[in-house]
């Protein structure tokens, strides 16, 4: 069963609907639950402000729950803001993140391109990762964000997108993964990526 962390994120329902339609069983996780519940994978959605999101995750005990599950080997996929929360710190509200991947989340500077980075852009699979299985090389995905992930370790960068410069649009380390774009809004290849993660 796919556990979707429900902390009031804006894209929760579109992620949920997409996973449902792929035929996977889902469960919304609003508070820490018993491990008996047979959650095999987690998804951390997210649209909004990093500081606000972390406050909700911390106050509800979900931060602790997520870290515990990941430590036990449960995979997690962060989507958009959910991906940014996987890192150690974010410039958005100067908050600490979950720290599951080493690195920070700086803001795009307006003198490079329009901010937010909004629209379809290509993602280059740099490590032949299973998330990109059955997805053509350099496919487009839909982005909406003003901050971006900057992993400390090169090996944690799985996908790269150019917006004035190359930034990490997909990150991952073992069972921890994150995508900056919205797979649930990226047409058939976005749905394929979600399927790759869930199966």
């Amino acid at each position: 069963m796919i556990g979707i962390i429900d902390y009031g994120a804006g894209n929760l329902h579109s992620v949920l609907k997409a996973i449902d339609r792929l035929g996977f069983e889902t469960r919304l996780i609003t508070k820490p639950i018993d491990h008996e519940e047979s959650i095999t994978k987690l998804i951390l959605p997210g649209v909004g402000n990093a500081k606000v999101a972390m406050d909700v995750l911390n106050n509800s005990g979900l931060s602790h729950y997520i870290k515990e599950q990941v430590a036990e080997g449960t995979p997690i996929l962060g989507v958009c803001l959910g991906m940014q929360l996987l890192l150690e710190t974010s410039e958005e509200g100067n908050t600490e993140g979950l720290g599951l991947i080493k690195g920070s989340v700086p803001e795009f500077k307006e003198n490079i391109e329009k901010v937010p980075h909004m629209g379809w852009n290509q993602v280059k699979d740099v490590q032949n990762h299973f998330l990109f299985h059955d997805i053509p090389e350099n496919s487009d995905f839909y982005f909406v964000h003003s901050f971006y992930a900057k992993p400390k370790e090169e090996r944690d960068i799985l996908g790269v997108t150019n917006y004035g410069f190359d930034f990490a649009s997909v990150i991952g380390n073992e069972q921890v993964m994150g995508v900056q774009f919205h797979p649930e809004k990226s047409g058939k290849f976005g749905i394929q990526l979600l399927d790759n993660y869930c199966k």
């Binding site: 609907k17 997409a18 329009k114 629209g119 379809w120 852009n121 809004k185």
Partner: protein, 257 residues
């Protein structure tokens, strides 16, 4: 690099997708979700639904059809029409819309843009802008003026001053419709789109006037638009979205396939 977007606009009246002839006599062309799905499969990058029910008659915003769209369409979509309050934003976003457009209500009360952006983020606050040029005696354009209420009421406001204020407050994208071009099929108002692209730092969706493929090429190349709205070109079956994109690709415009 970010792709140039092709955005079909779908008019909705009483939960049905309709097309207007000369802004009246709506005829039903299908179900909003089915039509959205069809355009998505043909390569649309995003969809814009204009709920004419709400904007013309001030009825309560209907959300059932929005839910259906959200269930069937896996690309972003905006809903515009009759939005007046932050509560309207909330209802439409909860129903599944990714962005909400506001036009007349923002002119009447610009703070609405800030209130919505503070809660939901700029990326989902779209400013609907209806503009008309003002000419001097030599028939040269002096400036553009803002219109509201589906182009029926002039405000006396200068377009550039308004978009600068609106983007400062929280508008994260602008759909600019040139009233005098709309439905004429003789091209977008490239001059205005170019000016807007220079003056504000948010994406500009050009709307009104597309009749042939070259018009879209022109608004991207000369107007520097981020996205082009298409309606009658595709609703009447003159072109498909994949035809539009193939043409633009041949013209070296960076579009998604």
């Amino acid at each position: 690099m970010l792709r140039k977007r092709i955005v079909p606009a779908i008019d909705v009246l009483n939960d049905q997708a309709v097309k207007y002839v000369q802004f009246r006599n709506p005829t039903i062309i299908g179900d909003p979700a089915e039509l959205g799905k069809k355009y998505t499969e043909d390569g649309a990058d995003e969809l814009i639904y204009l709920d004419t029910t709400a904007s013309l008659k001030n009825q309560d915003l209907k959300i059932d059809w929005i839910r259906k769209v959200a269930e069937q369409v896996y690309i972003p979509f905006s809903v515009i029409g009759g939005v007046r309050t932050v509560d309207d934003f909330k209802r439409l976003l909860r129903a599944g819309a990714d962005k909400v457009g506001v036009n007349s209500a923002a002119v009447q009360r610009p703070e609405l843009l800030k209130e919505a952006a503070d809660i939901y983020g700029k990326q989902c606050v779209v400013l609907g802008l209806d503009a008309m040029p003002i000419y001097n005696e030599e028939n040269e354009i002096l400036r553009w003026e803002v219109y509201t209420h589906s182009g029926h009421e002039k405000t006396g406001m200068d377009v550039i001053e308004w978009v600068q204020q609106a983007t400062d407050l929280g508008a994260g994208e602008i759909i600019c419709t040139s009233i005098h071009k709309d439905g004429m099929k003789n091209g977008y108002d490239v001059e205005l789109i170019k000016l807007l692209s220079e003056k504000v730092n948010v994406p500009i969706i050009a709307s009104g006037g597309a009749g042939k493929l070259e018009h879209i090429e022109e608004v991207f190349k000369d107007g520097n638009a981020d996205a082009a709205l298409v309606a009658s070109m595709i609703h009447y079956g003159d072109y498909t979205i994949s035809e539009i994109k193939s043409f633009l690709h041949e013209k070296n415009i960076n579009v998604r396939f």
